[in-house]
């Protein structure tokens, strides 16, 4: 399979077989523009019987159920499940924050594997994949343009193999996706969501709430929004509680350097992070957003499969 060959750069080979059994989402029904493998909200040209309805002028005569018409002595139209295409939109945070972690615990490694898996599963189902990536203060919207699937995947692999860096312009990133997202589908937002403020003057918690507000608009357009939060264990539990001095530098280089004794700097860290993660969860839930919290200490394959299995703190499927 040509698709698997390109995306194999992002995914372990062993994961490909497992992903073949996955689909992007289960009901509710989608509303796509082209024919695909997902049940549509509309009755359509699929193979599976759905219902009968009386004939109305203008209906396709090919869909008349002659047997039913003979029984009921009137024209009955056979309705079948429409199998429509699903658009998977990936919003990827490629800011410098995502570079944290060594080896298999690297956040970027996990995030790009998830992106690759989504694209792979979408390709298997002939679904359309769109993506936008925020990095170095700019948004790469090349993935939002219509392109052949193979070309789209190659572009995705190319962008995902570049290292993360700089600031992620969340406002521009979401605007670019929103302006081209008018059909129903699934939007995956993959990030650590630790610092989504535009600058250090803006309150980070407030910025997160605004981000959720913007994503909630996606839902009104029929999008299922899945927040995939990728965190390293160090970002949840402070591990430098020592009496020696540490100098903490912002990966994004926006916040000033903090220097001090480890045990003092980490005072209340776990509690503050815990409160923030609760804020993320509550903000997402209250707006009908799905939220999946992953830790890079979990094996990569498990984290990737959780994107499709709905495991985690919240189901992948939206609970509108």
């Amino acid at each position: 399979m040509a698709e698997s060959t390109a995306l194999a750069a992002l995914l372990p080979e062993s994961l490909l077989d497992a992903l073949r059994q996955r689909s992007l989402t289960s009901p509710p029904r989608t509303s796509g523009a082209r024919h695909g493998e997902h049940r549509s909200q509309r009755a359509g040209l699929g193979l599976e019987f759905r219902d009968h309805r009386p004939y109305a002028p203008g209906d396709d005569l090919r869909r008349l159920d002659w047997r039913a018409a003979a029984r009921q002595d009137r024209l009955i139209l056979r309705q079948q499940e429409a199998e429509e295409e699903l658009t998977a939109t990936i919003v990827l945070d490629a800011g410098a924050n995502m570079a944290y972690g060594e080896g298999e615990t690297n956040k970027w490694r996990h995030a790009t594997a998830m992106v690759g898996a989504i694209a792979y599963v979408a390709g298997l189902a002939h679904d359309r994949v769109r993506f936008a990536i925020g990095r170095d203060g700019t948004v790469d919207t090349s993935g939002l343009l219509a392109a052949p699937a193979r070309e789209q995947q190659a572009r995705l692999v190319d962008l995902c193999t570049q290292p993360p860096g700089g600031r992620t312009p969340w406002t521009e990133l979401l605007e670019s996706v929103a302006s081209s997202s008018r059909r129903r589908g699934v939007t995956f937002v993959i990030s650590d969501l630790l610092d989504v403020a535009y600058d250090i003057e803006q309150d980070a918690d407030e910025a997160l709430v605004r981000l959720c507000d913007r994503l909630a608009i996606f839902r009104t357009r029929g999008q299922t929004v899945v927040l995939v939060q990728v965190l390293h264990d160090d970002e949840v539990r402070f591990r430098w509680n020592e009496s020696k001095a540490f100098r903490f530098e912002d990966l994004v280089k926006r916040r000033p350097v903090i220097e001090g004794v480890g045990s003092q700097l980490g005072e209340g860290f776990d509690e503050r992070v815990g409160a923030y993660l609760e804020l993320v969860g509550s903000s997402a839930t209250s707006r009908g957003l799905s939220r999946l919290l992953t830790r890079t200490s979990t094996p990569l394959a498990d984290n990737v499969l959780r994107v499709f299995s709905g495991a985690g703190e919240f189901p992948v499927e939206a609970r509108a």
């Binding site: 410098a96 924050n97 995502m98 944290y100 956040k107 650590d192 630790l194 610092d195 980070a204 390293h232 160090d234 970002e235 430098w240 020696k244 001095a245 540490f246 100098r247 903490f248 530098e249 912002d250 990966l251 994004v252 916040r255 903090i258 220097e259 001090g260 004794v261 003092q264 700097l265 980490g266 005072e267 209340g268 860290f269 503050r272 992070v273 923030y276």
Partner: protein
Amino acid sequence: MTLLAPALLLGLLGLGLPVVAHLLGREPPQVIRFAALRFLKAGDPVVTQRRRVRDRGLLAIRLLLLALLILVLARPSSLDDRQLAVLAEPHDAMIVLDASMSMDLRPDDTSELARARDVIADIVRALPDQSRVGLLTTDANGPEIAPSLAADEVMNALDEWLSDTTEHYGAKTLAACLPQAVATLESGSGRPRVIYAVGDRTARGLGSLPVAAPDDIALVPITTGTSLDEPAPSPPEHVGLVDVAWTPAPEIDPRAIRITATVHRYGGDPEQVLAVPVELNIEGNTTPAEVNVPANADADVEFTHTLLDREGATPATLRLPLRSDALPTDDVRHLWISNQDQLDIAIVNGDPSELRAHDEVFFLATALRASDQHEHLQLRSLAPDQLEQNLREHGRAAIAETDLLILANVRAPTADVAPILIDRVREGMGLWITVGDRVATREYNENLGAVLPLLLRGPVYAGTAPGRTQARTEAFASPQLAHPIFAGLGGELGLSQTQTRRLMLLEPDPERATSLALSFAGGAPALLTTSLGAGRVGLLTTTVDRDWSDLPLRPGFVPFVQRTAAYLGGLESAAAGSVLTVDQAKEFRGADSLTVIDPRGEAHRIVADNDGVLRFDATHVPGHYRVERAASRRDEVFAVQVDRSESDTSPATVQARAPEHDRASAPGTVPRGQLLFWPIALLLLAEAVWRWRRAIQ
């Protein structure tokens, strides 16, 4: 220029530490590139490694400042013209240091005692090789070092003692220490022996020394200031509380007392009167006052205070709250006050007479009322029949409140009441028996023999001898100053001219523990005392009126009666009469053991010796002392004060002179540390200016 403490220069090595620490810096902090930076708690900034000196000028100033301070601690000094008369050949030396209170005088920032320490250091340093040196101070608690070759021991012991004691009082005079110093210097060594007496020129210091020491020992007086060949400089002015006393003030309130403090000003401008603040503190309540004191004169300041109705004595402290006094040690005095400190004296007049010359009560009452402490005395007289009737009716309660019962020429109490008297004496009542024509020896011996110091033999006419019928008179001999009644008596009592025509002879009895206080010139006892239980008994072997003697006409009669009554009545254990000077011993009777609580709160348990006397001599510290005994008849307290003579810093004539022969001189050293104060001040100023300039940049 030399250094008295050169070892402290090792501290200069420490100057390199700040520089090295500055350059090497601390371990660089571990750098963590982190995403969740905003969840960290930013604390105080941590000084990290600096490998470059940023402000060389400021560093140089501070290092120089540090170096100068170390130099000051090393006590730089230089040799001056002061010549110490130190024997040139190897000898045995004993240094005697004047540790009296006047040595606490501070003409400037340095006390005379600290100067004396430097003088002693000069002497030790100037001694020829193979000289042995020892140390003695006039303070009983000071170091005593026998002469040896280890001169360091002298300085170490001296420095340790000086660091342990901040105030000095109760010391002996230098002259009083001479015998001990002479005894310490062995005579068999064949080497010259020298006593170096170091002190000030006061009467208790060098002024107390004789012209020369005995036993061919050279006595070298050395002052802490100018040479003895030069006129004595005027000591700095200071004031001291030299006396405190109190009396009841019933005209104000039955519970009121009047406290008088005497302030003396030593030296000062004769043209100016100095206003001195005085504070009275009673149980935390401070009452301020002020008194104007002329130069070299006393001035009294009076306080009145109303005590609460309560048992026992109250501690009071008088203080001169002066910020700077050249001799602060004598600026405080302690005393006990009480509104229940009355001595109840009952005089039984056995031979009342309308003629005063033949009335014992008249003479006794007149003498007692002339006492300084007459306000504390409550006198009453009664007839023998009244006493016996009261005792029969009320028993012991009839004399339960009586502190002293005087049987003045009284016929012997009958056998039924005498045991009551004896029991009361055992409980603590004083009994004074004066004889006369009414005293029948047999009845007295039978009924009161248990309390008499000695049994009575019978009256005789003085000077009566076999074959001679002409009566003569007998005079009193000098009083026994060792007896507590006459302890501290200065000079003649005034009884030596007394003519006693008749006296009571006593039966010698070595089994009886008696104390002879006064005797006749012929050797017959005149006044004997003894103790029975907690009480004391006195026996005067002649009359206190003019029947047998002209004793009441003599000038010494008043103090004689007052002292005897105070002793027998136990007035010295009450608040008014309970003042000792530092290191004066206090004696108690009437118990096997008791506990004395000193001003620091430390308890001293003392036990009676073979004579039944409990002696407490740990009165080193001025202040309030309290006595606890199992069965105390009253609240026993006493205060310890500094002798006022210790406050006197005026120079006295020094008779002692260093011998001229075989004398070598050693230069003394003068501290020069003060010369460094100006550079230090300038550097501090420069440092401040530097920092100010950096701040405005």
